[in-house]
Assembly symmetry: C2
């Protein structure tokens, strides 16, 4: 059995812990297609927050308290950069984390594509699933906002981390999406999958940038594998992060039904065959999609495996 | 009074502490022209060991025990790089130090020349002397050695740090020297100096690369200012480092006389008007150079100021 998971960072990484555990039980192979829209250059270093969250989480090196970055992290470099007045100062890189970015940046500058770099980094972390960036090309999520008296496009991380999503926002654009190509292996994995899962990640800024890579939306929507999504919204609120602020920008209701309809049913030109919602959202209706309710709190691995099992039962 | 000091890293940095203290007493201006031949790229970061040793030492941030790098340093990034198997592993960058290299590399990649980057970094450290790299251009000291069954040119740092200078060595070459230009301000500082001091740095791999920048040897040798050198050799042995190994490569005797003759007297086409040697080396003769003996151990700032005063009395 081959499972493909479309995923963002932190929430998706926890979901993948359950997918991996399930896959080990049944002998399945898992490929995670990871969002790169959040990636950015900081102090000359290429930072891939979602790839790293997934890699650190599956590799046992993530900080479970903070939700991002490395466990036992220290912040010496950050303090020193601040002493130099280096900008941007609103995004903190931990010391352990910086080593990852140094290795990645060195390899990218030497000409290795991102998927090859990701594979090289993963030899240390042994995530137990195949990690693929959605694309090797530049595809950056920007937010079009009102700021400093005018309309500007700012990098998603500036919108999210610096402004805490609290600026008037018109829309998101995926810079570079038009010419991006799926990373090697991504289209093949989707075409060869027995099931495609959409992790309970932010639909607007984690899943949409993956689907914005030309060919990937069609690969999922028109592919042979059934597609099941897991709602990131429970009882009208995101489990983590600021999906509510992102959905608001799109004029989409922050609910399991709203996100389910945003993805849409495959017979109606959308993505989903099945949509797993929380027990709190039982009764959710998405046209032409099979909806099921189950406990969606990823409190531990067993709970997450049960979620995965419930999602797969929708196929 | 305007004092120019040609200098390498650690020993030169300590000497500059004395020059600065002296200059403060008498109201003089100090310009340090610093060797860049040791500079290298590590994990994509531009590292300038001599500029940093001088900057950290004069800025009060150097580690006095270890002799190089930052006081209170930590090594998290280094350990993490090792966990990734990143090479080279024989050169350790401290966490605090890495911030300096990140700022420098980012500025260099943005197009700022090294002298401008050095000035920007110095706004934090306030070294109290003007720090100038000998050149903004690439000028790298390589050692031509017998290694792995053949003759190879390896970077000075690989020779020094990795091989501890313990490989058969034919000569040193200054890669890029032919086309390097003095950094802005260097030739002007030498031309406008009241005295040029040659710090007790390694003559072969710290001072020679400075003089290898086309025009700089002539600027010193033919300039209006008297030139006084301070011997890095006391009683036949280097005060620190491996100057003995470097001198051996050139076939020069490791003594105050050997180094004094290597620099040579100005009337004979050399550099020196005066040569300050240690009390242990009283009686040293260098043709056409005024030699004087004085205590040369830089045990504290007062002792170093006395050395500087003795050197200046030779003008």
């Amino acid at each position: 059995m081959r499972i493909v998971v479309l995923t963002g960072g932190i929430g998706g990484a926890r979901f993948l812990l359950g997918v991996r555990a399930y896959a080990r039980e049944v002998g399945a192979e898992v490929t995670a297609v990871v969002n790169v829209g959040d990636d950015l250059l900081l102090h000359g270093l290429k930072v891939c927050p979602d790839l790293d969250s997934v890699m650190y989480t599956l590799g046992g090196g993530a900080d479970p308290e903070r939700g991002w970055g490395r466990v036992g992290e220290s912040w010496t470099v950050k303090q020193e950069l601040a002493a130099y007045g280096a900008e941007p100062s609103w995004f903190g890189l931990g010391d352990k984390d910086i080593a990852t970015h140094l290795v990645r940046t060195t390899m990218l500058n030497a000409g290795y594509p991102l998927h090859a770099v990701t594979e090289a980094l993963a030899t240390r972390w042994q995530p137990g699933v195949r990690l693929l960036p959605a694309t090797d090309d530049r595809l950056e999520t920007h937010a079009v906002v009102d700021l400093d008296g005018g309309q500007r496009a700012i990098h998603f991380q500036e919108w999210w981390v610096r402004h805490r999503a609290a600026v008037p926002t018109h829309r998101f654009v995926f810079v570079g999406a038009e010419t991006a190509k799926p990373a090697p292996g991504v289209a093949e994995a989707i075409a060869g999958a027995d099931v495609v899962l959409i992790a309970p990640s932010n639909p607007v800024v984690s899943i949409a940038p993956i689907l914005a890579v030309p060919g990937l939306r069609a690969a999922v929507a028109d592919g042979p594998a059934p597609v099941v999504g897991v709602s990131p919204i429970i009882g009208g609120a995101p489990v983590r992060g600021m999906a509510d602020r992102c959905l608001e920008v799109l004029g989409v209701e922050c609910s399991a039904a709203g996100v389910g309809r945003l993805y849409g049913g495959r017979p109606a030109g959308g993505l989903l065959d099945g949509w797993l919602v929380a027990e709190e959202d039982a009764g959710t209706v998405v046209p032409e999609v099979t909806v099921r309710a189950a406990p969606l709190r990823m409190t531990d691995e067993a709970a997450t495996v049960a979620m995965v099992r419930a999602a797969l039962e929708l196929t």
